[in-house]
């Protein structure tokens, strides 16, 4: 018997008892839907997080500061207000902790560490901004900012504009929580000028920089509450910060960005090596890890639901096919009497099971794609909970995921089908002949 005939017959047999077939497929559908949907959400979340990771410099990125600065840095990050808690108001009486600079000797040692890419090292100067404000508000806010590191052009922005690093005017990409605080919204703040004030720590004289907001940094899970300045703005503020410093202090490095070979070394190994030369580092995992694991836990729970549904579906397949074997005893007997091998009988029932799996998973995938896209749009509508994350695609369906899930379900269906198929294959044609 030809394979194509076995497949055709298997599908024709499924249509004989349509209600039963429908109910069996329904159970598979639920499992397929759950698994494909969670995969799509996971892909959406991962892609979103990856965008953020890439806007830092990808996997292997290290944000390095002096060991003594780590506490100060954490304090600063908290003070700037992480995530959506918004900027902190400026209080002239409260003094911020300073950073201990990284010296040249440490940078030379860093270059020589095995696993650190020497060419990737970028020195970052610390910009000391006293507060920011705008025409639209009387309030003054603290601000963390740095020059956009060269090559770091993938910062996701809400309106899709990017900095002109070499421009002769003052430009910045504004951290998103400042938009409302400064009296604007995400769209109308574009091209508006805000005031960045720097107060000299010795003379208390204030200097104001009027900088054009090029765009707003898209809110993300790894927001470090940093705004990015173009070179001119960063250089001029640094010059202002250090204008009374003796020349040898003018070129201080506050932090270093570097890449390490993450295929060869674990983050812990690299951190230990840096520790030895008095440096402290944060990896991308330190920054995004907790968010990722939060989503992973939720999605794993959903996936487990999906697999439980699939196990139930597998039992459904077994049940359905046992009934079919019973009903078709005479037919199987006739097939075998007329020379069909046990192997072909086995194949015909397992293919029936695989077909059930195939159709169930295909329907699950199709419905998931439809519902996923509707929900994605709905969640980004005004007032919905993803409104403030316009670059976050809730669901991403990849061909790979879709094919993997389909094959997996077909395989589970095959396994389920082997039990009834074995019974069918072992049927004795004589017994079937006598079976009335």
């Amino acid at each position: 018997m030809k394979v194509i005939d076995i497949i055709k017959d298997a599908n024709a047999n499924l249509l004989r008892n349509k209600l039963r077939t429908f109910l069996t497929i329904l159970a598979i559908f639920i499992g397929s839907f759950a698994i494909v949907s969670t995969s799509a959400i996971q892909a959406g979340v991962n892609s979103f997080i990856d965008d953020q990771v890439n806007s830092y410099g990808g996997e292997g990125y290290l944000a390095i500061v002096n060991k003594d600065s780590m506490d100060a840095l954490e304090g600063l990050t908290n003070a700037m207000g992480g995530g959506n808690s918004g900027p902190i108001e400026y209080d002239p009486d409260k003094k911020q902790d300073g950073m201990t600079p990284i010296n040249e000797e440490q940078i030379e040692k860093l270059k020589k560490i095995d696993g650190i890419d020497g060419d990737s090292i970028v020195k970052q100067k610390s910009l000391d901004i006293t507060y920011v404000t705008s025409k639209e508000t009387d309030k003054k806010y603290l601000m963390g900012a740095e020059a956009l590191p060269p090559g770091n052009i993938k910062v996701a922005t809400i309106n899709g504009h990017s900095l002109d690093l070499k421009a002769d005017e003052y430009q910045l990409l504004l951290e998103h929580t400042y938009v409302k605080a400064l009296g604007y919204d995400d769209q109308n703040i574009v091209d508006k000028k805000i005031k960045i004030v720097v107060k000299d720590q010795f003379t208390n004289e204030e200097k104001t920089f009027e900088a054009r907001v090029v765009d707003v940094i898209a809110p993300g899970v790894v927001s470090m509450s940093m705004s990015y300045f173009n070179n001119k703005l960063a250089d001029d503020i640094y010059e202002e910060n250090t204008k009374y410093y003796p020349p040898e202090y003018k070129d201080m490095t506050a932090a270093v960005a570097a890449n390490y070979d993450y295929n060869k070394y674990s983050a812990e190994e690299i951190k230990d090596k840096l520790e030895d030369i008095g440096l402290s580092a944060m990896t991308i995992d330190d920054i995004v890890g907790s968010i990722k694991s939060f989503f992973d836990v939720i999605l794993t729970v959903f996936k487990i639901f999906g697999f439980i549904a699939l196990i139930a579906a597998a039992i459904g397949i077994i049940n359905t096919l046992f009934m079919a074997v019973q009903e078709r005893t005479r037919e199987i007997g006739l097939d075998k009497a007329l020379g069909m091998s046990s192997g072909k009988v086995f194949a015909s029932f397992t293919i029936e099971a695989i077909s059930l799996g195939f159709w169930g998973s295909v329907f699950g995938i199709v419905v998931s794609i439809i519902i996923g896209n509707i929900v994605n749009v709905a969640f980004h509508a005004e007032g919905a909970f993803l409104e403030s994350f316009p670059t976050f695609n809730l669901v991403i369906y990849t061909i790979q995921d879709v094919i993997t899930v389909t094959l997996l379900i077909m395989f589970i269906a095959f396994l389920a089908g082997t039990l009834p198929a074995r019974r069918a294959a072992h049927k004795n044609p004589i017994d079937s002949l006598r079976y009335e």
Binding site: M1, K2, D5, R16, R330, E331, G333, L334, D335, K336, A337, L338, G339, M340, S341, S342, K344, N428, P429, I430, L433, E436
Partner: protein
């Protein structure tokens, strides 16, 4: 006629059930069936006719004894070969029709060819040809269930001949039919026997049907109790020409009475 038997059995035994509750349905059958013959296996219900036929048709394996097909011991054959023989060399007709009643007439007739892996067009052509032989070509598209009993049995005959078999096994082919319809089925079967030389092995409890066969093998309680050939064949082969008795030398040709046993 060939001198070697097509099918021959020696000391064929078949028991059902396990040791203590074992029941011996066949108690040592010796038979030779020659190519082109029509043979009736006749006996009362429960005498073991179907059991014997199933063994001859390689549908089942004997508990003891041998079945030779064209001189080869079938117990040596692998399952695959047995399947192939049933598929290509044998045709089957059963009392209870034994067909897929929800399928079309054509698909029922196609079944052996489909199992054989014959291509779509070819098997369709051959099935229609077989249906023409049984005069049912116009019913090809009908559902098998919608046919009368006689028509159903003709479909089964079409299915039995669609693969151009050497032997047709018919188990009570007229058992479910009225005598008129039964006669038509008998004519069909004997027509195939005469025109195509297909060996006929008919299981029946109907003496009239048995009388039409070249040879009758009477079975009672799992034993051959009597064997006989048609009077005209007996006359042709043995009356005054004892040199030409080769084909029957292994067979008892005189009538054996049960009492004599």
């Amino acid at each position: 006629m060939s001198k070697k038997p097509l099918i021959s059995t020696r000391n064929l035994r078949k028991s059902y059930g396990r040791r203590s509750a074992a029941f011996e349905a066949l108690k040592g059958i010796n038979l030779d069936i020659y190519e082109g013959e029509s043979v009736a296996i006749i006996g009362k219900s429960g005498s073991g006719k179907s059991t014997l036929m199933h063994l001859l048709a390689l549908l089942d394996k004997p508990t003891e004894g041998t079945i030779k097909l064209e001189g080869k011991n079938t117990s040596q054959f692998r399952q695959h070969k047995l399947n192939d023989i049933r598929n290509k060399k044998f045709g089957f007709v059963f009392q209870s029709f034994f067909m897929n009643s929800n399928d079309t007439v054509l698909n029922n007739v196609i079944l052996p060819l489909k199992i054989a892996g014959v291509g779509f067009r070819e098997r369709r052509r051959r099935a229609l040809e077989a249906l023409r032989v049984v005069d049912l070509a116009d019913k090809a598209k009908n559902k098998a269930n919608d046919l009368s009993g006689g028509q159903k049995q003709r479909v089964c005959i079409a299915r039995a001949i669609v693969n151009d078999p050497k032997v047709i096994f018919a188990d009570e082919p007229t058992g479910n039919l009225d005598s008129g319809t039964g006669e038509r089925i008998i004519k069909l079967l004997f027509g195939l026997n005469e025109r195509k030389g297909i060996t006929l092995i008919i299981v029946t409890h109907d003496q009239d049907l048995a009388n039409m066969c070249d040879r009758q093998i009477h079975i009672a309680d799992g034993e051959v109790v009597e064997e006989g050939i048609k009077q005209e064949l007996y006359d042709e082969n043995f009356d005054g020409d004892n040199d030409n008795d080769g084909m029957r030398e292994k067979n008892t040709i005189k009538r054996i009475d049960v009492e004599e046993d």
